[in-house]
Symmetry: C3
């Protein structure tokens, strides 16, 4: 009986990988053998059969496990249709995004001289962008409203936190201009965006971190410009930002920008500005072409803060045009704007710019979306010496409604407080009421 | 032995969730116990082991079931590549569609004065459209052939059967014009489409149901128009349709449309029309600019029927131009057209317009596609008082082949029966033979 | 006891489909029955229970197998995001591709008269293409840089190896021009591409096989051309190629092309060429408008070979302009170019054209990408009789870096060796250094 006990002990030690239901059978067989109910020969045969079946079972279980693992493995490509189309490989090597935006405006003007009431597609863009082999990125975006290429570039992101960009994109300069037009606080940027640096074909290096960013690039001319027998224009631009406080709902931002353009191709430059409304296309201040212009240097100072639902943002930009045999022409402008999100959201901030508002509680999901009220004072001085471009000051009240992410409806009332000089609007105080519908992603 | 029987009875009541193979073992053990082959102590141990193993088995089975459920769950995003790209989340919250069309034409002209034979890309469009958070929709479509934005809008569909639209889209007016150019019976719409209301930036409400539709909107000007110092034009448009009979292969449609445009910005309007062919670009009737035009009102009456493979469609449109200090200028036009699908399909109809033909039996799948013959009589009168735009009548024979869904090949023969007046074609009877290849989705 | 043995034997013959763990139990039961430990009645009950459980088990197993098969079945749609977006149904019936390209150039010119240094977006395209019902294909591609439609067509591929195309696409003529601009050896094609046949709206048949290709088509005019009252131009084009040696890394290619254009619409034609650089837009040779031109016939001869990493390619093109009442004007040009892939790749070849280089070892994956050095001699003679367009010869050195598939960075140095005649550059030897960044897929 020793051997039986021994075998029983051995049997208890066995474990089946798939299912353990045979263990009680093994126990029973051992007991029956021990009790003398089965012969030693029978016992041997039973034990052999038991062992063989255990092996088979284990194999079957392994096969099922393998198939289950395969079947429940996440797919290689993640797909998102929440606005356009985003596909990403799960390994981070590749991604593709198809996106776009449409901004439809209507405006009515008051004051004199009157500007034309009307409607406008302010922006209508599609883009294709993506990631190639983890470290490389590409983008092509087209503005259908004025048939122009906006972004068209390659990026290299293989050095951690650093980015190299080559192609056509925005010169790094001015917070107001660097913020996507989808995400500005008002329908139009402030008056000093007359000094924005625009997009050019060039090469840029950038470094982004939570508490500071630096970007610097060298640029040729705009996409549309072909020099022919003359050299095209060129320039450089740099922007640095500090955000010593930068956490969700809490921000202090300080920025400094420098932008230089060689103006030799045509030796001319012109600044003008609409009353923070682009439906009529009328400009309230305008320097006309400034001749003998060799180059210009723009200097910008930025300040911004976020405290919960409250945002404040201010900029000062000075533009100095270096003229041949004539003294420099200096212009400047500034604005202060702030907004309050009545529904409690905070304006997001990343890599030195503000992002778009996402409502906490969507319409259609028990919420009323996000509601934001905003106020701005802007000033732009295009008078200097003999150049009588005009000086304008304006005050804007804004209301933004974000019913769901990616949609925005805005209403702005702009009151131009005073225009001093300039070609057509000296002493006038035009006002604008305008609305916008926007989808963007 | 009572206890043994009791246990046996209990054992029979047990059911294993995963597999029942142990039940005969339990029966055996009970029998052996009952027969006195195993001791009570052994029996107890066996039963404990059996119970423990049953629990383990049940857990294993549950784990496999869970994984299987996960693995066989339909994916969150449904993908279709049957022409462009459609992605939908299964919960109906989001969708994205990339689509387009290309129409390539060739035409040869006869009669005198001759028009230029040639080829043309009639339409080449891409669009991105989609759904956001179930209730919101968006679209941007661009016409590459003439570099213009066609559709660019947001819709709100949160109220059942109602739709609100804001952006750029077709004014609701005229059945012929509301039918997508992909789906018209002939390559070109009938002569009275000289009075189509076009696309404008505006806001529209619509109500669609099986037996009637109503749409009404207020519109600003076209996308390209910027008023500058003058107000842009504006207008309103409304269209109602009744379809008291509306089931697959059986339709009676009655429609009425009104379209008003303020013409003050330029105080001018012009109507002209090609001979239902756009390859040469030559116009056979043309009012030239009508000055002193204050506003115009278009009135349209629509009739259509479908009886199996037979479709008939007719419209009458009257345009009345209100002129300053001069009597109104009134023009009108009408057409009757009908087609027969030789291969038995029926023209589909939904929300007050006809859709596209899908062949019952595809080429490549044992079929010859869908074949359609069609005939049309059109008339357009642009003569009124001193305005000598010309009156034209034309007759068209058409043949359409739809080898597979989304492809269409058409051949049209247009014979202008008579031209009475107008600048260049008075008394002429030009004719056109034209063909088209089209993909669209 | 016979029956017991009999049953035992029967039991051994049984096999369970799901798991065989019960077989030892059956053996045991038979043994116990044989040994008289269970009664015949008990034995019968046990055997019935065993059989019932076996059936249940088999059903459960089948259910799991079915679910596993469903869960591990490949999805119907294959998705690739490796550059743009490709979706294919696994049955080959449908596919959709969204792709594009961006080429950003910078150039500096030397010699005299100077041309303007600058930057340029050379090409910026997006396209949508796909397959419908296996046999049909479609494409629409747009060039955003000059706002023009490039490809817009339908193909029918239902006859094996044959293809029918209708729409707008390249006339089949000249190896250099048939190779995609993404894949040319240098940034710009050779001087004789002044004679390329361009894209027109037409119909083409093509036959592709490993050792030869033939394509022939009849074409109308370009997309932008609308004849108005005059007939548009038309032409025909054919190209045949032989590749008696055609295996990976080994190629001998011979090609012949003929291209005819009727020039009657304007009775004029003009040839000009830039110094293999398009940033400044300046042309170094130019015939100006040649009047009295009735038609022209271009004849091209192509030769190419690949031996491992080495590629050589040469073409000669002659253009003969048939003039009314004046003797023909004959022009010609040729080039020889060769390259060596330092990293060992071979230039791929298919259907009579070269494809793009894919690096053997990618940057970011332990490699340095593919590096290619190239050299070219080009010649173009636009002088004939009274026509003094100029003759130019140039030499180009090129360097291409393909860090990963779909990206390319190029640097070319072009030295114009001599210009003989022509409007502005007689006797001049301008040179160009230019660089390009490219993404394309």
């Amino acid at each position: 009986m020793l051997s039986k006990k021994h075998l029983l002990a051995a049997a208890i030690g066995l474990s089946l990988s798939f299912s353990t239901q045979a263990s009680e059978l093994e126990t029973l067989i051992n007991m029956l053998h021990e009790n003398g109910m089965v012969t030693d020969a029978q016992y041997g045969r039973l034990m052999d059969e038991l062992a063989a079946n255990k092996t088979t079972q284990a194999q079957e279980k392994a096969a099922i496990d393998e198939k289950l693992a395969e079947a429940t493995k996440p797919s290689d490509v993640e797909i998102s249709t929440q606005g356009g189309l985003t596909l990403k490989t799960r390994d981070g090597q590749f991604s593709t995004k198809v996106g776009g935006r449409v901004q439809v405006d209507a405006a009515t003007y008051g004051g004199s001289p009157d500007m034309g009431d009307g409607t406008d597609i302010r922006r209508a863009r599609l883009y294709l962008s993506g990631t190639l082999y983890r470290d490389w990125g590409y983008k092509l975006e087209y503005e259908f409203d004025n048939s122009s290429i906006t972004d068209a570039f390659i990026t290299y992101d293989g050095f951690e936190n650093y980015q190299i960009m080559v192609g056509n994109f925005k010169d790094p300069f001015s917070l107001d201009y660097m913020i996507s037009a989808n995400n500005t606080m008002f329908m139009e940027r402030a008056l000093p965006t007359a000094f924005n640096a625009g997009r050019h074909i060039g090469v840029m290096g950038a470094r982004n971190s939570q508490y500071w960013t630096v970007a610097a690039g060298v640029f040729g001319d705009t996409v549309g410009n072909t020099g022919g027998e003359d050299d095209e224009g060129w320039g450089w631009s740099t922007r640095g930002t500090l955000s010593p406080i930068n956490e969700p709902g809490k921000l202090l931002h300080i920025g400094l920008g420098l932008n230089y353009r060689d103006l030799q191709p045509n030796n001319t430059v012109r600044f003008s500005q609409a009353p923070e409304s682009n439906v009529s296309g009328v400009r309230i201040v305008d320097t006309s072409a400034i001749d003998n212009a060799d180059s210009m240097l723009k200097t910008g100072l930025e300040l911004a803060t976020v405290i919960g639902p409250f945002t404040a943002q201010a900029e000062y930009i000075r533009t100095s045009v270096d003229r041949d045999n004539i003294s420099n022409a200096d212009f400047d402008g500034w604005y202060v704007q702030s907004s309050y999100l009545l529904t409690g959201e905070s304006r997001p901030y990343k890599n030195g710019v503000f992002g778009g508002i996402k409502p906490n509680h969507r319409v259609g999901d028990g919420g009323i979306g996000a509601w934001e009220v905003a106020m701005r004072y802007s000033s732009l001085d295009l008078n200097d010496g003999a150049i009588n471009g005009g000086e304008a000051d304006s005050m804007t009240l804004g209301l933004n409604w974000y019913p769901v992410p990616m949609l925005r409806f805005s209403a702005d009332y702009v009151h131009v407080l005073d225009i001093d000089g300039g070609p057509d609007f000296d002493g006038k105080k035009p006002n604008v009421f305008q609305v916008r519908s926007q989808w963007a992603f």
